[in-house]
């Protein structure tokens, strides 16, 4: 059995083997999406744990008018965004009393060796994007999903996603421009 919809039906009946099969199908997608948001391997694993626990609990509520992939991605995006909000609140609380440490540069483990320096800058500026722009960019350009699936995951029209992508690219360009002299000074 490897049809995701059938797997979800079996999970809803408590089938553990189906759950493991679904994990095999989606674990990398979930983990990588979470990694792009959290930019931290431990946090990404925490998100993945929450996502799969949520899938097991809510399999019976899965509506078959959406694809399993869309549903899993939606849970992953929401869980990642919740973790970012929680981290922001915790960070605000800590920084109120203590000196703020600068976040270390994130190197995605899947980036090709020759692109790693450029990717560090890219992930740094992605972190500063507004949440919807960040989601549209991560799903389209890092997860490489078709625009229509991105629109379904975000619950937006195709046009709205295109507009978010344009704005995200423009903002990333502006932020990278500001980062450029900084990079030259460090060299």
């Amino acid at each position: 059995m490897s049809d995701p919809t059938q797997l979800i039906r079996a999970i809803a009946d408590g089938d553990r083997n189906a759950f493991q099969e679904l994990y095999t199908l989606f674990s990398e997608k979930v983990y990588n999406t979470a990694l792009s948001y959290t930019q931290n391997e431990q946090d990404a694993e925490e998100v993945a744990q929450d996502v799969f626990t949520s899938i097991f609990k809510n399999a019976k509520h899965f509506k078959e008018n959406a694809t399993v992939s869309t549903w899993v991605y939606r849970i992953t995006v929401n869980t990642s965004l919740n973790l970012l909000k929680k981290r922001k609140r915790r960070f605000a609380f800590i920084s109120f009393g203590d000196s703020v440490k600068e976040k270390p540069d994130f190197v995605h483990p899947g980036i090709l060796m020759e692109h790693q320096e450029s990717a560090k800058a890219l992930f740094k500026v992605i972190d500063g994007l507004a949440l919807q722009q960040k989601t549209a960019f991560i799903l389209s350009f890092i997860e490489d999903l078709p625009r229509q699936e991105v629109a379904d995951i975000m619950g937006l029209s195709l046009k709205a996603v295109e507009s978010l992508l344009q704005r995200s690219k423009r903002n990333l360009r502006e932020k990278l421009e500001k980062l450029y002299p900084d990079r030259r000074k460090k060299k």
């Binding site: 674990s27 990588n32 899947g110 360009r173």
Partner: protein
Amino acid sequence: MKEAKKAWIDAALNSTQGMQRAKPSDELWLKIQARTFSAKVKMIPVSQLRFIAAAAAILLVLNVITLGTYIQRENAVWGELLEETEEIPVLISDYKLYE
């Protein structure tokens, strides 16, 4: 200079091309299994226990204060009654009226 900057920005924007998927650690599935299938024991957090203990202590103190006030008031009422009783003339008890 301007062209170098533009090239650097373009390189950054295109740096995810050819990217491989990262693999989660082998323990992730074990952790998920442990969280999903382990028997659920309802744990009461220590902070909640402290709150319950504080509430119980407040209730106890309030009860002691109320009981103390009640006993004091009762004693005062009985004291007044006894004083009033002492002022009442003693009743004739031998009934020998015409001696």
